[in-house]
């Protein structure tokens, strides 16, 4: 190489210099000839120089061409030989720099392509997964949408039920207030009943005393009546005996014949008197018997009345006691009903609050249903987008494959 450079130096620099000196020493040559010689010499030198330079340049450029051919084939593994600091050297250096840069770029592109391929592959997988997940989400959201519709319907029924509950609670509160008033009135009546029954018990006690006194007097009357009956029986017996006696007197007078006629008249009068006495005694006996019987009935009834009065007194006492219990229980009932009334009022207020809350829930549920419908639609759109992305990812993967195959053609 150095020889070529030295030769080229001689041809280009030293020969023209020598030729010039020769020419300068040839004075016999005409001016024009000299000039033509000089021109010829110059052309010769120039042509020689051009040949030398062309040879040198060709050889150097051939190296660069080889490198460029390899570059064109994608072989970036060769280093570009750099000789000299001339334009070719600068060109070789520049090409070498370009090759290095290209190698770095291709390396980065390969790395990026690999990364992109992996990423696109992952993207494809992820897209499939996302598509599947989105489809699943869409199905779930549709289920949620159906559930939301069911929830709206249920909440509507709940609203209706809550309205009925609120109305029922209000009615219960009203009836509880009415029941409280009635319980209060019942307690008052029970207290009045206790007082009345106590007065009745006292009255029954007085009545019992009167009945006992009357029974005693009636028994005395019965005793006297029986004594009268006994006396009447005695009178009747006497009249009977008198009647028999008069009959016997009449019989004796009849046996006495004419002498006993006057005596027979007297005996007959006595018999008539005895008979009248017996009839009167019989009437008195019947009356007395009737009085005795009726007195017996009165005594029996007085006994019954006395027993009834005693039983009534006992029952009145029992009624007083029962009414006292009723009064106490009525007070407890009134207190319980009052508490129920308060709780019913609180329940009515809670029912109103519950109604408002359920109505809010209804609104939210309606909004949720609408939102769920929108989400469902959006999910369907997302599913469609994801399918499109999946297709695009597949295309990108194909493109990435193609790019990688292209990049793999480069030899680093």
């Amino acid at each position: 190489m150095k020889l070529k450079i030295g030769l080229a130096f001689i041809v280009i620099v030293f020969l023209p210099l020598v030729f010039g000196i020769v020419l300068d020493n040839l004075t016999s040559v005409g001016e024009w000839q000299a000039m033509w010689l000089k021109i010829f010499a110059g052309i010769l030198v120039a042509a020689f120089s051009a040949l030398v330079v062309a040879e040198v340049l060709t050889r150097r450029l051939q190296g660069l061409a080889e490198v460029s051919r390899l570059l064109a084939e994608g072989d970036l593994s060769r280093e570009v030989p750099v000789s000299g600091r001339d334009e070719v050297g600068l060109l070789a250096e520049s090409i070498g720099t370009m090759v290095r840069n290209l190698r770095d770029i291709v390396r980065q592109v390969q790395a990026s392509t690999a990364l992109m391929y992996d990423a696109v592959q992952n993207l494809t997988v992820s897209t499939h997964e996302v598509t599947a997940s989105t489809a699943e989400i869409a199905g779930n959201i549709q289920n949620i949408a159906k559930g939301a519709e069911t929830q709206v319907a249920s909440v509507e029924r709940a609203v209706e039920a809550t309205q009925r509950v609120a109305a029922a609670a209000e009615a219960i509160a009203g009836r509880s207030r009415s029941a409280e008033e009635r319980a209060t009135a019942s307690a008052g009546r029970a207290a009045e009943g206790v007082r009345t029954s106590e007065e009745a018990a006292r009255a029954m006690g007085g009545l019992l005393v009167h009945v006992e006194t009357s029974a005693s007097e009636v028994r005395t009357f019965q005793k006297h009546s029986m004594e009268i009956q006994s006396l009447v029986e005695g009178i009747s017996t006497l009249s009977h005996q008198t009647h028999i006696l008069a009959l016997n007197a009449a019989i004796e007078a009849a046996r006495a014949g004419e002498a006993g006629r006057g005596f027979a008249v007297v005996a007959e009068e006595v018999r008539r008197l005895a008979e009248s006495t017996r009839e009167l005694a019989s009437q008195i006996a019947r009356l007395s018997e009737d009085i005795t019987g009726r007195t017996q009935q009165v005594v029996h009834r007085m006994d019954q009345m006395e027993e009834t009065a005693k039983a009534a007194k006992e029952k009145t006492g029992a009624v007083s006691e029962a009414l006292a219990h009723i009064r106490a229980e009525a007070a407890e009932t009134r207190e319980a009903v009052r508490q129920i009334s308060e709780e019913a009022a609180a329940q009515a207020a809670s029912a109103v609050s519950l109604k408002a809350a359920v109505e809010e829930i209804q609104e939210v549920a309606t909004e949720n249903a609408a939102g769920t419908e929108e989400v469902s639609a959006a999910t369907e759109e997302t599913t469609a987008s994801m399918e499109e992305i999946s297709q695009q990812a597949k295309a990108l993967l194909d493109e990435s494959n193609r790019l990688r195959s292209l990049v793999e053609k480069f030899k680093l």
Partner: protein, 151 residues
Amino acid sequence: MERMVVAPIGGKHAGWLTGHLSEVRPMPPLTPLPEPYPFLSGTAFLGGRVVTVLDTFPLLGEAAAGESCRLLLRLAPPLDHLAFPIPSILTVLDYEKLDLREEGAGGVWAGLYPFGPSWVHLVDPPAVSRELALAMAHVLHPHPPGREDAS
């Protein structure tokens, strides 16, 4: 004027003339007979004598009086050993012999005497004694010639 003692005998009436009676007295305790005899209730001890007490009811075709009789009519002598138990004395009537209907006579009865709308069977004491004797003979001799029963 004779008088007639009237007594209720079941649903009928029996009458005794006062001249045929010796006394009227309360029913004394009776001594029962060792064997039952027709028309006889028993015996009673009256005034130191044993009196045969007849049964008035069967004589009028009524059921036996039992213990319902409270009075005893004792006949006058010579039949004062006979007595009739009666429940009571219904009344004592004035007796007019012309009013006696003898169509009802027979047995122990002297006839029928008008008593309001009904009749009184008037007792004939001698016939009573006779019929009692025949009845006793019938009892002692069950087939006496010519008579079937006492009534």
